[in-house]
């Protein structure tokens, strides 16, 4: 215990910790939300999960020893999302993505300029990937994470990150071939 610490009682952090948190961790809020968005497959759920993860990160911040703050945060986001998904879906069954329940909002002008077709197809194809494929794909393609960072975030060995990413991309490619339908997976379904 540092002398004279006056935590505010909610999370045991003092003003210094809060400022450091704001400078080190909060810049990665977009990354946190994006990962959460793709894991939860629902914007409202993603907002709640991200908020919960940020507050958990704040609580754990005393234990943060420096290093890659983004990977540290995304690890917490991932665990929070998995816990929430596990709660709402204890049987572990996959819920089909329902377009009516998940209307797209907040589209950027750039995104609207793209043929809506391609964007929609991509989005649905990613949403349809199994979670373990979806998370490595999103971390690599949208967040630009290295294999090492993905390994930290997902607690998978580096080699597994590489092979999972390989299978995720192949599955995505196959599902994007017109007329192929989704989920035509071949090969061993290990891991």
């Amino acid at each position: 215990m540092r002398p004279g610490v006056k935590p505010d009682g909610r999370d045991g952090l003092d003003a210094v910790d809060r400022i450091r948190f704001q400078q080190l961790v909060l810049p990665h809020l977009d990354a946190a939300f994006n990962l959460s968005r793709w894991l939860m497959r629902d914007r409202a759920e993603a907002e709640d999960a991200t908020q919960e993860a940020m507050l958990r990160a704040l609580r754990f911040f005393r234990g943060y020893q420096g290093g890659d703050a983004r990977a540290w945060l995304l690890q917490i986001v991932r665990n929070t999302c998995r816990t929430r998904l596990g709660k709402s879906n204890p049987a572990g069954t996959t819920t089909e993505f329902d377009e009516d329940l998940h209307p797209q909002v907040d589209e950027t002008p750039e995104a609207l300029a793209i043929a809506g077709d391609e964007r929609d197809r991509l989005m649905r194809a990613i949403e349809a990937l199994p979670a373990r494929f979806r998370e490595v794909l999103v971390l690599r393609e949208f967040e630009g994470c290295s294999y090492k960072e993905i390994a930290t975030i997902t607690s998978l060995p580096m080699g597994t990150v590489m092979s999972t990413l390989a299978r995720a991309r192949e599955k995505l490619q196959r599902s994007l071939v017109p007329g192929s339908g989704l989920g035509a997976e071949h090969g061993g379904g290990r891991q």
């Binding site: 540092r2 002398p3 004279g4 610490v5 006056k6 505010d8 003092d14 003003a15 210094v16 809060r18 400022i19 450091r20 948190f21 704001q22 400078q23 909060l26 810049p27 809020l29 977009d30 946190a32 939300f33 994006n34 968005r37 914007r43 907002e47 991200t50 908020q51 940020m54 507050l55 704040l58 020893q65 420096g66 907040d106 950027t108 750039e110 995104a111 793209i114 391609e118 964007r119 991509l122 989005m123 990613i126 690599r140 393609e141 949208f142 967040e143 290295s146 294999y147 080699g159 590489m162 092979s163 990413l165 390989a166 299978r167 991309r169 192949e170 995505l172 490619q173 994007l176 090969g187």
Partner: protein, 251 residues
């Protein structure tokens, strides 16, 4: 190589994650494998589509506000007023740390630009950057000047000015000892909105001097001498804020 392994390797190669030997081996394989060549091309097309579709989502403002509100420390009243969350400022801050560390810095116009003053200013900014690392900012954490000031007793032979300026928008965060050019100095730490200000204080025999500002790579500083003390305040807040702090400290 087994089929599975070739597939994994192809993606490792595509992502630039293979070591030099692995990459060279795969390139040799590519020359004789039409299947891998087209698979590599397809992976590249997929990445282009993903980038072009702009599917990465940014955190909505409503979420940002909720988190910002949760983060506001009750210890810093008024901090939230008009201080909308500004991720760019933090990004810029992070970028400027990097720049300062990478490029270094040799000038300190504020104290006359002499070689000695330059080296000193350089040390002060180094110390400021160091203070932002985990566990380095404060040795005594308190917003109470009557806790911080006595903490320096017995550790140094002079008494730095320590004031709780929370009502003026500069809440006191604490103090620490730091080393500048081999000399132990007192550092009093204040907050300004979401920024930190390190105020370095040590005794001097020089005459009083008016505040002398300077800035470089996103950091501002203000140095002055008064009553036998040399003071340098360093921060990423604007020069006006440092001047305001100076006024409050010499009052």
């Amino acid at each position: 190589m087994s089929c599975d392994r070739v597939t994994s390797t192809l993606h490792g190669y595509f992502d630039g994650e293979l070591d030099a030997a692995g990459a060279a081996e795969f390139e040799r394989h590519l020359q004789s494998c039409a299947h891998c060549t087209s698979a590599l091309e397809a992976t590249s097309v997929l990445r282009s589509s993903l980038q072009r579709s702009a599917l990465r989502e940014r955190a909505p403002d409503s979420l940002r506000r909720r988190i910002d509100a949760a983060l506001e420390a009750p210890a810093s009243p008024r901090a939230s007023v008009g201080a909308a969350t500004n991720a760019w400022r933090w990004l810029a801050l992070a970028a400027s740390f990097l720049l300062v560390v990478l490029i270094g810095w040799r000038q300190f116009e504020g104290l006359g630009g002499s070689r000695q003053a330059s080296a000193l200013a350089s040390s002060v900014v180094d110390a400021h950057l160091r203070s932002l690392q985990p566990g380095h900012l404060v040795d005594v954490v308190s917003s109470d000047q009557h806790t911080v000031k006595p903490w320096f007793d017995g550790k140094i032979t002079y008494a730095p000015t320590v004031r709780d300026l929370a009502t003026a928008g500069f809440p006191l965060l604490g103090g620490r000892l730091d080393v500048l050019q081999g000399r132990t100095v007192a550092v009093v730490v204040y907050a300004r909105r979401k920024h930190l200000i390190n105020v370095f204080v040590w005794p001097t025999r020089e005459r009083d001097s008016p505040p002398s500002p300077g800035s470089r790579l996103g950091y501002n500083w203000l140095g002055w001498r008064k009553g036998g003390m040399e003071v340098i305040a360093v921060s990423d807040v604007n020069a006006g804020d440092l001047e305001a702090l100076h006024q409050l400290l010499v009052k």
